[in-house]
């Protein structure tokens, strides 16, 4: 069982966010980054599948040199090797460009299974996984809650809306986008971190493809607070309060 896991490096929640001069993305230079949380669950699922069925887990990330940090984290947690798809332009690439770059890097590996997080914490398109599957000619299933492998097939539980679930069986190779919280994440062990230093991160170049979508303007949402004092008799105030709460869609 050969499993590829796509991990994205996203802005840390602790980071102070500043918009860049063009107003199109976040200023990279003074930001802090971390591994995309949904991808951690994809990685954990891949590691568990490997522990059950044997095989290999390959972590793949696309972006500038700094993304090797998340690959190191994946290696420390137990991925066997990593592929860094290097291209600075991928930071502002759309889902199609990123998916194409990842797909080309993974294609020669001939993997049985590709896992990604459901979506990224920064852009949240939820598209990279499914576009990749399409480009690689693989079936895919999204919002996966449970994965079990048997007889060369994979049976998955998908989360639908309103508390409904769907069980689907897919042939291999296949691509799954993993829902957050489906497993308990392991922590990086000292031995894992030491071993990670000796594991391979292979660099591949992404072919320069132009994004079809671009971000026109990025801005910080503005918060405002309004205070209204209601006056009159208790009955009037109560009536007005109900009215105001209805308008604010609180009730």
């Amino acid at each position: 069982m050969k499993i590829a896991v796509c991990v994205k490096q996203v802005l840390s929640r602790e980071a102070t966010i500043r918009v860049n001069d063009q107003g199109t993305w976040v200023r990279d230079a003074d930001a802090q980054f971390e591994i995309n949380e949904p991808d951690q669950y994809a990685l954990e699922e891949a590691l568990r599948l490997k522990e059950q069925h044997g095989g290999e887990v390959i972590a793949v990330s696309a972006g500038p040199a700094r993304v090797t940090q998340v690959l190191r984290e994946a290696l420390a947690r137990g991925a066997d090797r990593a592929i860094h798809v290097g291209d600075d332009a991928l930071v502002e690439g759309d889902a199609f460009v990123v998916a194409a770059a990842l797909a080309e890097a993974i294609r020669p590996e001939g993997v049985d299974l590709i896992l990604t997080g459901l979506q990224s914490d920064d852009q949240g398109f939820g598209q990279v996984g499914v576009v990749m599957a399409e480009r690689l000619g693989m079936p895919h299933a999204t919002i996966i809650m449970d994965v079990s492998l048997a007889d060369g097939q994979v049976r998955v539980k998908r989360e639908l809306e309103g508390g409904w679930f769907q069980w689907v069986t897919l042939p291999l190779p296949t691509l799954l986008t993993i829902q957050s919280g489906i497993n308990q994440l392991r922590y990086a062990t000292l031995k894992g971190i030491m071993a990670a230093k000796k594991k391979e991160i292979r660099a591949v170049r992404a072919e320069g493809r132009a994004s079809e979508q671009r971000i026109a303007r990025l801005y910080v949402p503005e918060k405002s607070k309004q205070t209204r004092v209601l006056e009159g008799s208790a009955a009037e105030i109560a009536k007005e309060l109900v009215q105001a709460l209805r308008e604010a869609r609180v009730i």
């Binding site: 929640r13 602790e14 392991r186 922590y187 062990t189 000292l190 031995k191 030491m194």
Partner: protein, 610 residues
């Protein structure tokens, strides 16, 4: 002495020495095979603990004055008899006879009171062990101890008889005395009486700092203790020095609440594994199931130990071996991930801390304007109840003209990672925090959390932080020495382990309480030997505690004082005791020390006096 006697004695001495040496060699070889961690630095402090704990037996006596004093008599008797034994042995071997010299006669007479003292001491100890036997000494009477006790008594009786006897009877008496000594030599190495030989060394080699757990050296690929073979020299020496007195067992909050962990058994299990040649056995298999994760690192065992055994480094070292292999208990996984990703145990984002700082109106630390840096800690950043205590501290500092600031950003100090054996995360956090504290130029740091106190104040020395670190109880106690409010309240005080036992600050909180009009009704286990609240060593996060909950046991002890109000000085003690209180729905009120003091100072007794 006849030639036959001399040759017989020579033969017996050779046999006894050979048996002694063979047994000792086995043990010393095992100690020497461990990684070298025997330290001779800080000589004055080590010499002092040797003097206090070996020569004057302070630790033996402190917890149990009667037993300890009896032991002191036996110990000093043994020392006094060393010369006598040497002279009589030389005579017996036919090498040199000094028994007729003037000084030896005087020495013999002077020894008589010592012999009586030893006899009294050993008879007392024999009766205690044989007839009353406290549970800590084991389920059954140790035959070996009784034998050793009888031998010691025989030595003293034969010595005293020797002062009176003449002729043939004197010879028989002499032989009995010397044979007992030789038997003693043979029996010592394979018994707990090996402490006679080893404990002076073990006490000297014990770290002068309680619960001192050195950093792992990642360059040398150290990952903690995984197998028996990984135990370093001091931990091996500890295992052979154990005198099986069970004081650690009596002091252990986990053992007291029905858990499997017994610090005495832990040490003896390590000893058994080494002597049994199980060097490749995993420590987790050598020790009872799960006990490594039942320790709160309260330090009571180590602090009680009269022979210098360090339990905490053994437990944390063994935890490290597990954590390095991903074998920590499940409940710690999220804690480690939170610490790694968010820099705090709860996995929250630090905007809550920013909001707290902004609403409390605290400035960012600036070395040119502020004399103190207030370290908030995880609890200060996120725990609403504890933030009240910090606001109280800020008010007191303002009122006394102390200029202070806080770091713009803080991470957890790493205590939960250190004590649960996640050395990687600990060193990451400590390196960054120490660097930021150094850059901020903080010379004096004050914290209300005793765990931050120990970690910043001691563990961070190894990361180059040399600022003075004080607990708020100590600083506020210094600032308010002029205050004298009339007595109007009765409280009980729970000493946090990391404040009372580790840092020795037992007088300051009491002085503070007294000063603001509160009489302290002491619970059992107080001051430098408190009973833990159950939070330390990562157990704050444990979901299912076996046996009685430690926090519940402590709350019961505190309530038994009859005081309606429990004052403590640690955010984690607070969380645990409040948890216990909530589940019993008792009416006891929990108050943080600094909040309580500030209310009293502001209201001159009206606020919290009630």
């Amino acid at each position: 002495m006849s030639a036959l006697e001399v040759w017989t004695f020579r033969l017996l001495v050779v046999v006894a020495l050979a048996l002694f040496s063979v047994q000792m060699a086995t043990r010393l070889r095992l100690v020497a095979a461990g990684a070298q961690n025997l330290r001779w630095d800080r000589f004055p402090e080590r010499f002092r603990q040797f003097l206090v704990d070996v020569v004057f037996q302070a630790r033996v006596i402190r917890a149990k004055p009667w037993v300890g004093s009896a032991h002191l008599l036996v110990f000093w008797g043994f020392v006094a008899f060393a010369g006598f034994t040497a002279v009589e042995s030389l005579r017996g071997l036919g090498l040199l006879d000094l028994t007729e010299t003037h000084w030896f006669r005087s020495y013999r007479v002077a020894l008589a009171p010592f012999a009586v003292a030893v006899l009294a001491g050993i008879l007392f100890l024999l009766v205690r062990r044989g007839l009353f036997r406290p549970p800590a000494l084991g389920q059954t009477v140790s035959k070996e101890s009784i034998l050793i006790g009888v031998l010691i008594a025989t030595l003293m009786v034969t010595f005293l008889l020797d002062l009176r006897l003449e002729g043939g009877a004197e010879r028989v008496n002499w032989w009995v005395h010397m044979l007992v000594i030789l038997a003693f030599l043979v029996l010592i190495p394979d018994s707990k009486h090996l402490h006679l030989v080893l404990s002076p060394v073990t006490v000297f080699l014990k770290s002068p700092v309680l619960g001192d757990v050195p950093n792992l050296d990642f360059e040398r690929e150290e990952v903690g203790f995984e197998t028996v073979a990984d135990l370093p020299a001091k931990q091996r020496l500890d295992a052979f020095t154990c005198v099986e007195c069970g004081r650690c067992q009596e002091a252990c909050p986990a053992f007291a609440t029905g858990k499997l962990l017994n610090p005495k058994k832990l040490i003896l299990d390590a000893q058994r594994a080494m002597l049994g040649g199980q060097l490749d056995a995993k420590l987790v298999d050598v020790f009872d199931d799960g006990v490594l994760w039942q320790c709160t690192t309260c330090g009571a065992c180590e602090n009680q130990c009269p022979v210098g055994i360090e339990h905490v480094p053994l437990i944390i070292g063994s935890r490290r071996g597990l954590v390095s292999n991903g074998e920590a208990p499940d409940y710690l996984g999220p804690v480690f991930n939170n610490l790694e990703r968010r820099g705090n145990i709860w996995g929250l984002t630090y905007d809550q801390r920013d909001k707290f700082i902004a609403s409390a109106g605290v400035e960012t630390f600036d070395a040119s304007r502020h004399s103190y840096l207030v370290w908030l800690g995880c609890a200060g950043a996120f725990e609403a109840d504890y933030q009240k205590s910090l606001r109280a501290l800020f008010e007191i500092l303002h009122a006394n003209g102390v200029r202070f600031g806080v770091l713009a950003k803080e991470r957890c100090n790493g205590d939960p990672a250190k004590r649960t054996g996640n050395e990687y995360i600990f060193q990451e956090l400590a390196t960054q925090n120490a660097e930021e504290l150094r850059q901020a130029g903080a010379k004096k740091i004050v914290t209300s959390c005793p765990h931050c106190l120990k970690t910043l104040g001691q563990d961070y020395r190894r990361f180059g932080l040399d600022a003075e670190v004080v607990h708020s109880a100590v600083l506020v106690s210094e600032l308010t020495s002029h205050v004298h409010l009339a007595k109007d309240d009765e409280v009980t005080f729970h000493d946090p382990c990391y404040l009372g036992r580790y840092a020795g600050h037992t007088a300051e909180p009491r002085a503070l309480l007294h000063r603001v009009g509160a009489e302290v009704k002491e619970p059992v286990r107080n001051r430098d030997n408190p009973f833990c609240c159950g939070a330390g060593g990562g157990l704050l996060f444990e979901e299912h505690e076996s046996g009685k909950r430690i926090s519940q046991e402590r709350l019961d002890q505190l309530q038994a004082t009859g005081a309606r109000r429990v004052v403590t000085a640690c955010p984690f003690c607070s969380i645990m005791l409040k948890g216990a209180q909530a589940s019993t729905q008792s009416s006891t009120e929990m108050v943080d020390l600094i909040s309580y003091v500030n209310d009293k100072l502001r209201g001159e007794g009206r606020g919290a006096g009630g």
